[in-house]
């Protein structure tokens, strides 16, 4: 395995083009947009989890000076098109909840929008929202999957006839049962991952402006996908796609929450269209916690059968996923994907699974960094459970079961095929960096002193750049401007990923120009080619290869023109730092500016057969996922008195292929890991049994701060990805591997005194309870 060499730009830790504006307060986020005559919106939201609406009185609100309009479902719902994302809207078989712009007859979770108030200022809109009187007839709600699945449970969506949104399973498998019956070891556990929420620091927001004369809708949006938003707005408003223009500026994080186009943004667009005036809505933090899509909330019963040597023989996975009331992106149902990926990097020859998605009267589920990552959480926890049951060390158990780097392509029992991954290598690297054996010795010494240390491993593979609908294709247009500068137009939508930097590196590398001379434009449906949105670890592979292809095409054009100017053969020319020269005779050269001038001006003597064009589009389509992989290992100390978990060390060994920019790669890993740690130890969105949310401020919903976050040590294993640029996607991975690593580390610490923890979040209270349960 040899690491590919870094290029002049690709592979270098180059400083970011985004930084100067963001550091000086010159970024432009959606709340910074001001347009003439702009009005402000606030939503009236349900404070009951389930209720019939019997009356809405908007008169007092409308009477307030400065209030322009109050719209209810009766105003905006009739005539509204589907609010589902393209993937669902274009799939007639999709089971979707009957989502409307505003709740009209009833409300189905606390936060359901009932009315939208439009006023001269946001403060006034909020004042008026408080004056809207909604009469409700409360109904029983189901606030958990358990409640929703109980006999005779109240229905979240009565028109769908049940609380199970989907129920998929493999047929009963007698052979698998026989394996379980005769296996040397069988372990079974019920695992719970709790509800949390993506929480980008910038909440959601939109400015929408409709011109009834031209029938043109202009939208500025905080989004991960302006092109998907355009299609969504076109569908919901009934306007042709060409009459919808969506722009984004800087976006303060998304993590999946802004990948599809949520309900409120669509409702604001309808209100602006109806009013013929520009309307701004900036979500406040309480709304973001209450009503923007939530994430996770999975329960599974998992069984593994192993032989006497610890080889996994078969697995069973019965998975329940909570969709909430109005999931974003369909049912929120990544369920079958969790099952399909469950075997991960291991040889698990036989599997049975069932996957159910359940409606509840809670905020809808949506994407969050690694939406299907529960597969890794469940699998890695079970491997540790198996290690304890068999008495085999957890590292050794993984060694015995991991698919070797040279045993690929490998097809999982679920039918997924992966290739070009290095799980076995990263497992060894991470173990070496953490000093595995030394830690085990230290753990034993600490135990003798009465202290509890633990070590946890999270090994995973991740399908990046999945060939699913619009997610599998991306385009890049590269243009040499009339003065010789280079502009790259991308369908991507960066919100922290450094795409202006990394894609400029790719284009500068392959076109042969200076990084400083390349500018990247994205986030504007009128200026950029269509793209499926930024998320799903897809940019490096798909946009990266599209950018490469476009740059190479333009390079050929540049060389073609320069060949005439230099009276040389194209194959004798090289392009370097924006200068085309004859190989071996560098004094015979012409600048890119001169090439551009020759193309853009008449009378420059270019023969008619030389195309006067320095612009090309590259389009890259993935035919199969590019897999990346990593091993996370962390060590913790658990305080036996307070139940506090302190992370002692945190190591990641990862393979994301050829790194476009190692600084950016490491930043993505750091951020993902801390999100995962936050999810395990601190973040918990809580509903009471009746369905009332209890964690709607940052005082209750606890994000990790610098004080709780460990220093993360990263080891890079670099192997070429199976695509021309040699890259593998990596944006989500940090948030995947970290969760099992931390859970397993705490479980490892507790196991020394016979205590167990299989449910997240691992709060001090839960730890203390686990210790008390065994009298430790």
């Amino acid at each position: 395995m040899s690491a590919p060499a870094a290029g002049r730009y690709v592979g270098q830790a180059i400083q970011r083009k985004e930084d100067p504006r963001l550091l000086t307060g010159h970024g432009r986020y959606v709340d910074d947009i001001v347009v003439p005559r702009m009005l402000h919106a606030a939503f009236v939201r349900s404070d009951l989890p389930s209720a019939r609406i019997t009356a809405i009185d908007v008169s007092a609100a409308l009477g307030l000076e400065g209030v322009s309009a109050v719209f209810t479902g009766a105003d905006l719902n009739p005539g509204a098109g589907t609010m589902q994302p393209s993937m669902m809207a274009e799939n007639p078989a999709a089971v979707v909840a009957p989502l409307t712009p505003l709740a009209a007859d009833d409300v189905r979770f606390v936060g359901d929008p009932v009315a939208i108030v439009i006023a001269e200022s946001r403060a006034l809109a909020e004042d008026a929202a408080e004056l809207v009187v909604v009469d409700y007839e409360p109904r029983d709600a189901v606030a958990s999957m358990e409640a929703a699945l109980a006999d005779g449970a109240p229905l979240v969506h009565p028109e769908l006839g049940g609380n199970v949104a989907s129920d998929l399973a493999l047929p009963e498998d007698p052979e698998l049962e026989a394996i379980f019956a005769s296996a040397a070891h069988v372990v079974t556990e019920r695992l719970v991952q709790h509800r949390h929420t993506p929480t980008p620091m910038e909440t959601r927001g939109v400015v929408a402006s409709f011109d009834p004369v031209t029938d043109q809708l202009e939208v500025w949006l905080s989004t991960q996908g302006p092109h998907e938003a355009r299609r969504t707005f076109a569908r919901v408003s009934g306007l042709p796609e060409g009459h919808v223009h969506v722009r984004m500026g800087d976006v303060g994080g998304g993590f999946g929450q802004k990948f599809f186009t949520p309900r409120e943004e669509q409702t604001v667009v309808l209100a602006a269209k109806r009013l013929g005036a520009p309307v701004k809505w900036i979500e406040d933090r309480r709304e973001n916690l209450l009503a923007a899509n939530h994430a996770r909330s999975d329960v599974a019963t998992v069984s593994l059968a192993l032989d006497a040597d610890g080889h996994v023989l078969a697995a069973k996975l019965d998975h329940l996923e909570e969709a909430g009331a109005w999931p974003v992106g369909g049912t929120g149902g990544v369920g079958p994907f969790v099952a399909m990926l469950f075997p991960g990097p291991y040889r698990i020859p036989r599997i049975w699974w069932r996957s159910r998605v359940v409606w509840t009267n809670t905020a809808g589920r949506g994407a969050y960094r690694g939406p299907w990552m529960f597969e890794s959480v469940a699998r890695e926890q079970m491997l540790d459970v198996a290690a304890r049951a068999t008495g085999i060390d957890p590292l050794e158990l993984r060694r015995r079961n991991v698919v070797g780097d040279d045993e690929q392509p490998y097809t999982m029992a679920t039918g997924m095929t992966f290739s070009a991954t290095t799980s076995a290598t990263t497992l060894e690297h991470a173990a070496r960096v953490i000093g595995y054996d030394d830690f085990r010795a230290e753990q034993a010494r600490a135990r003798a002193e009465g202290r509890l240390l633990g070590l946890g491993i999270g090994l995973y593979i991740e399908p990046t750049s999945t060939p699913a609908a619009t997610l599998g294709v991306e385009a890049a247009t590269v243009r040499v401007e009339s003065g010789g500068g280079v502009t790259v137009f991308l369908g991507t939508a960066a919100h922290g990923q450094s795409i202006e930097t990394t894609m400029a590196q790719v284009v500068a590398e392959h076109l042969g120009v200076a990084y400083e001379d390349v500018r990247v434009v994205q986030g504007d449906t009128d200026r950029t080619p269509f793209g499926g949105g930024t998320g799903g670890s897809r940019t490096a592979v798909i946009a990266g290869n599209a950018s490469r292809e476009a740059a190479l095409k333009v390079r050929e054009m540049v060389v073609g023109v320069a060949a005439h100017l230099l009276e040389a053969a194209p194959e004798d020319l090289e392009v370097h730092d924006g200068v085309v020269s004859v190989r071996g005779t560098p004094v015979r050269n012409v600048s890119l500016a001169a090439v551009a001038a020759a193309v853009h001006n008449a009378g420059t003597g270019l023969p008619p057969d030389v195309p006067r064009l320095l612009e090309a589009t590259g389009r890259y389509q993935t035919s199969s996922p590019t897999w990346s992989n990593a091993c996370h290992i962390c060590t913790v100390e658990v305080d036996r008195i307070t139940g506090q978990v302190e992370i002692l060390r945190y190591v990641v060994s990862e393979d994301c292929g050829r790194m476009l920019n190692p600084m950016v790669v490491e930043g993505q890993v750091h951020g993902g890991v801390v999100q995962g740690i936050g999810g395990v130890l601190y973040e918990h969105f809580v509903y009471d049994e009746a369905g009332n949310p209890l964690t709607t401020t940052f005082l209750d919903y606890l994000l990790p701060t610098a004080a709780e976050s460990p220093r993360i040590e990263i080891d890079h294993v670099v192997t070429d990805g199976p695509n021309p640029e040699g890259v593998k996607g990596m944006g989500e991975g940090g948030a995947i591997g970290s969760v099992p690593a931390v859970v397993n580390a705490v479980a490892d610490a507790l196991a020394q005194v016979g205590a167990t923890v299989t449910e997240q979040p691992i709060t001090p209270v839960r730890v203390v309870e686990a210790l008390e349960a065994v009298g430790a």
């Binding site: 930084d19 307060g25 980008p200 990923q497 951020g671």
Partner: protein, 163 residues
């Protein structure tokens, strides 16, 4: 709603405006003065995104009323870089150490860190982590930020020794 005339010095310039009693300093800066570099991520005093300095002290501008800034000297993130765009030492360190990704928390961090290093020019790593724990970042995992603070502190001390 009662309205008030206020005057204060913002980023070295005398500014004035008319605000409601309930208008926060953050809203006055953003909407009244068009200084949109100050960000609002919670509006309830927890995240630190809205941090500015008032008479040299770092404060959360979502928790302070605009009328309370009458006569005060306010510095926002727009006031740190040189007129020619030269980054302040703290801003430069954030760039060098990859202390930002989406940039939304960044103005608050830059303001907090600038004030923190004034008070503690030679912090340990633990002091750095404690010192910035009143600001939330969802992107960086804080590692680049901690590195940036360390870098800024080192450069600051080197500059003082050199001066």
């Amino acid at each position: 709603m009662a309205e008030h005339h206020i005057r204060c010095t913002v980023n070295g310039q005398a500014r004035r405006g008319i605000v409601e009693s309930r208008t926060t300093l953050a809203d006055f800066l953003r909407e009244g003065l068009g200084l949109t570099g100050t960000h609002l991520a919670c509006e309830h005093g927890v995240c630190g995104a809205c941090t500015v300095t008032v008479d040299g002290r770092a404060i959360r501008s979502c928790l302070m009323l605009a009328v309370q800034a009458e006569g005060a000297t306010v510095t926002t993130v727009e006031g740190l870089a040189g007129a020619d765009g030269t980054l302040s030492p703290v801003q430069q360190a954030f760039m060098d150490a990859h202390g930002l990704q989406c940039g939304f928390c960044t103005p608050g961090f830059v303001m907090s860190v600038t004030a923190f290093l004034e008070a503690n020019p030679d912090p340990t790593d633990a002091e750095i982590r404690e010192g910035i724990s009143g600001n939330l970042c969802r992107c960086t995992g804080y590692q680049g930020i901690v590195e940036a603070v360390r870098l800024a502190a080192t450069r600051r001390r080197a500059a003082e020794v050199g001066a």
